[in-house]
Amino acid sequence: MERMKITLFRFDPKFDESSKLQSYAIKTDGPVSVLQAIRHVYHNVDGTLSFRNSDCRRGVCGICSMMINGRRQLTCMCLAKDGMTIEPPPNKTIVKDLVFETD
C-alpha cells in the first residue's frame, strides 16, 4: 500500500476568477504512474476533476504531457511520488483543470 499527497491544478474559466492548487491524499495498491494517480483522484476522490483520458499510456502519443514539479514530462511515463504538483504547461488556454486547448 502506498500513501501519498499530490497537488493538482484546478481552474474552471467559466466560474473561477483564478486558478488554485488542490491537494489530495491518496492510497494505492502499489507504485503508480502520475497519470494513474490523476485517474485515481478522479475515480475515488473527486469526480469533478477534468483530465484527458484518451492517452496511449505508454509514452507514444504525448497528449498526457504536463508540468510535474515545474518540469514538462509525460505523466504516463513518470512514477507518482509524495508531494508532487501537477499543472498544465504554461501559456496554454485552459478548458478546465488539466485540460487545455490543443493546436
Binding site: P31, R52, D55, G59, V60, C61, K96, T102
Partner: protein, 579 residues
C-alpha cells in the same frame, strides 16, 4: 436555442468516426475520391487509437525472407487462423492488396526496416505464420504509420474535431443521414449531416480489467451500429493474449512481445515450478503456439496452483544477452526499465484482452448491412473469423481503410444529402442532456464499469461456461434496468465533464457485453479465441457458423442468428492435416 436542437450543426459528404489508423486511412481515401471529409475522435485525431501502439509487425507476403511466401500462403494462414470462420472474400482482399497498401503508406512518407539489398526485413511471430512475413520498424511499427497518415491528412488539409463522442447515428428510412455527438470539452451537443459514415472506432478492451488497449477503447462503435440497425458478426471471439506484463501495476496490460526472442535462444515461458508448459496446451505441441493458446495455457497453470503471484507465468528476459534484447525489443525494454523493472530477472506475464475478432459485419466494399454506413479496423467484422493472427490488423486497416473511404465517397456522391429528421435529433439531444440534469442517487459510471469488468473477466474472458454466462447475462440485464437509469454524475457543469462521457460509454459497454456473452453462450463448442470448458472440443459438424447479432427497429432485444459458412478448402486441409 430551442430545446432539443443541437448547439452546432456541420455538414460533410463523408463523416469518419475515429482518429486512429483506420479512420485516417479512410479519410485520406475519401478525400482523394473527391469528397468533403470530417474526422471526429474521442481523443486527439491522429494521436488516439491503438495503431500508434503497434509493436508486433505487419503481415505482407513480399517473400523476401522466404521466396516460397506469397499472398496465397498468407491467405491460407489467415483462414486457418480464423478457424474456418473468416469471410474468405474479405481475407483474400487484404492478403492480395497488402503490397499495394505498403506502397501507399510509403508514398505518404513511412519507412520500414530494410536489409542491405533494400528488401524489407521480415520476421516470424509464431507458428501461425508459415514463413517469416511481418515487416517492422524497430519494435514500434505504429509510430511511422501514424506519422505518415497524419502528414497526408495535413497535406490534404482534411478537417478534424477532437474530443467528440458520437452518441447516435441518424437514419431516414434505411439511409444514413448523419450523427449526433457530444463535444465534451465545450459541453455542447452537435449535429453532423453526412452523406455517408465510416466507423473506425476501434475495439473494446476496456470491458476487461486488464487489457492492452487505450483506456477509451470502450466499444462505442458496436453499439452505435447495433442501435442503427446494423448487424454484428463473430463478436464472441475476444482475443486474450498471454504476453502482457502483469506486474508492477504501472505497466500492467502493456505487451512485451518476447516471442521474437524465442528464436534467439530465450527460455520459453515457465510456471512457478520452473517448468515450461505451453507445449502441453498446444495441439501441435509448440513452445511458441498461436497467440490465443498462451492465455488459456497460463489460465490452466494458475488454476493448478502453479501461477505467478499476480496470476500469470514467468518469462526470463535475462535468458538472452542485453544486445539481443535491445536489438529485438528496444523500446519495450526501455519502457519497462523506466518503471524500475529489472530486465535481467524473470518478469510476470499473463492474460490481457487484446482484440475483438468480429464486429460490424462488412462486405468487400467495407459497407455494413446499412446503406451508407461503412466500417474499418477492429470495430468491423468478417475478415478474421474466430481468431486474428498477429500482424494482420495493420494490414487490414490500411487495405479496408482505403476501400471504406473510397466507397463512402462514391456513395455520398451518388446521393442527395438528406436532412436528418429534427424530431430524431431533439430526442437524442434531450436524452444526452438529461443525464446531466437529473439528480440521481445511484453509483457513478466508473463503479458500474468496475462491476462490469469483473464479470467479463470472471465469466466472459479466457474460459467460459454455460452457468457463468447465463448468470452474467442476467446481471447485465439487471444493470440495464436498475444501475444505468440511476447513474449519478459527479457534477452538472457540462464543460470537460468526464463523468458525463463515462456514463454514455458505460451504457454502450453493457449493451456490448451482453451481446458478447449472448453469442458466447450460444456457441456450444470451442474455436479459436472462444473457449468453453463445458464444450472444450471444436465442432465443425454443428458450428461452422457465424453468429450474427442485430436488433429490430424500436426494440432493444438482441437477436442471435447462426448462419452456416461453407468450408474453405484451406481450412479443410488444415483439419485433415491435424487429425
Amino acid at each position: 436555442m430551442p430545446t432539443g436542437s443541437a448547439d452546432r450543426i456541420y455538414e460533410t459528404d463523408v463523416l469518419v468516426i475515429g482518429g486512429g489508423g483506420g479512420g485516417l486511412r479512410a479519410a485520406i481515401g475519401a478525400h482523394k475520391a473527391g469528397a468533403r471529409v470530417l474526422v471526429l475522435s474521442k481523443g486527439i485525431v491522429g494521436k488516439s487509437g491503438l495503431t500508434q501502439t503497434a509493436v508486433t509487425g505487419f503481415q505482407v507476403a513480399f517473400g523476401y525472407a522466404d521466396s516460397r511466401d506469397n499472398p496465397e500462403i498468407h491467405y491460407g494462414d489467415s483462414i486457418r487462423g480464423g478457424y474456418g470462420l473468416a469471410d474468405p472474400e474479405l481475407a483474400r482482399i487484404f492478403c492480395d492488396e497488402a503490397i499495394e497498401a505498403v506502397e501507399d503508406i510509403e508514398g505518404f512518407g513511412a519507412r520500414f526496416d530494410r536489409d542491405a539489398n533494400g528488401h524489407f526485413i521480415q520476421r516470424k511471430l509464431d507458428s501461425s505464420q508459415t514463413y517469416p512475413r511481418s515487416i517492422k520498424k524497430g519494435d514500434s511499427l505504429g509510430t511511422p504509420i501514424m506519422q505518415a497518415l497524419r502528414r497526408e491528412m495535413n497535406r490534404r488539409e482534411i478537417p478534424r474535431m477532437h474530443e467528440i463522442l458520437v452518441t447516435k447515428l441518424l437514419k431516414d428510412g434505411k439511409r444514413i443521414t448523419g450523427a449526433i455527438a457530444l463535444d465534451f470539452q465545450k459541453g455542447e451537443m452537435i449535429e453532423i449531416r453526412a452523406g455517408a459514415i465510416v466507423m473506425a472506432t476501434g475495439g473494446a478492451g476496456e470491458l476487461f480489467p486488464v487489457h492492452s488497449n487505450t483506456p477509451d477503447s470502450t466499444g462505442d462503435g458496436y453499439s452505435l451500429a447495433l442501435n442503427a440497425g446494423a448487424e454484428l458478426v463473430d463478436i464472441e471471439f475476444l482475443l486474450m493474449l498471454g504476453h502482457a506484463v502483469l506486474h508492477p501495476a504501472t505497466v500492467r496490460g502493456v505487451l512485451f512481445t518476447f516471442q521474437y526472442l524465442l528464436t534467439k535462444g530465450a527460455k520459453p515461458l515457465f510456471n512457478s515450478e520452473g517448468e515450461a508448459f505451453l507445449s502441453k496446451y498446444d495441439p501441435e505441441g509448440s513452445d511458441n503456439p498461436a497467440r490465443h493458446i498462451y492465455a488459456r495455457a497460463i489460465y490452466g497453470e494458475v488454476r493448478a496452483g502453479r501461477g505467478s503471484p499476480h496470476g500469470g507465468a514467468f518469462f526470463d528476459p535475462g535468458s538472452v544477452s542485453r544486445e539481443t534484447l535491445m536489438e529485438a525489443l528496444p523500446s519495450q525494454t526501455k519502457y519497462l526499465e523506466s518503471f524500475g523493472v529489472d530486465i535481467t530477472k524473470p518478469i510476470e506475464v499473463g492474460a490481457a484482452a487484446h482484440y475483438v475478432c468480429g464486429g460490424i459485419k462488412i462486405n468487400p466494399q467495407s459497407q455494413s448491412t446499412i446503406p451508407g454506413l461503412y466500417a474499418v479496423g477492429e470495430c468491423s467484422g468478417g475478415p478474421h473469423g474466430a481468431g486474428r493472427i498477429g500482424g494482420n490488423s495493420l494490414t487490414e486497416i490500411l487495405v479496408f481503410g482505403k476501400r471504406a473511404g473510397t466507397e463512402a465517397a462514391k456513395f455520398a456522391n451518388r446521393q442527395n444529402m438528406v436532412t436528418p429528421n429534427s424530431e430524431e435529433v431533439s430526442l437524442e439531444v434531450n436524452k444526452v442532456k438529461s443525464l446531466l440534469n437529473r439528480r440521481h442517487t445511484g453509483a457513478r459510471p466508473n463503479i458500474i464499469k468496475t462491476r462490469l469488468q469483473k464479470l467479463m473477466n470472471d465469466y466472459v474472458g479466457v474460459v467460459r461456461n454455460e452457468e457463468g454466462l447465463r448468470n452474467t447475462i442476467e446481471e447485465f440485464e439487471r444493470m440495464i434496468n436498475e444501475d444505468l437509469p440511476n447513474m449519478a454524475i459527479a457534477e452538472e457543469n457540462p464543460i470537460g465533464n468526464y463523468d458525463w462521457v463515462e456514463a454514455l460509454e458505460v451504457t454502450s459497454m453493457v449493451q456490448l457485453a451482453k451481446a458478447m456473452a449472448g453469442a458466447a453462450l450460444m456457441r456450444t463448442e470451442s474455436r479459436g479465441a472462444h473457449f468453453r470448458e463445458d464444450y472444450p472440443a471444436l465442432d465443425d459438424k454443428n458450428w461452422l457458423k457465424n453468429i450474427h447479432i442485430y436488433q429490430k427497429r424500436n426494440d432493444p432485444s438482441l437477436i442471435f442468428d447462426a448462419r452456416a459458412r461453407k468450408k474453405a478448402p484451406e481450412y479443410a486441409m488444415a483439419q485433415k492435416g491435424s487429425s
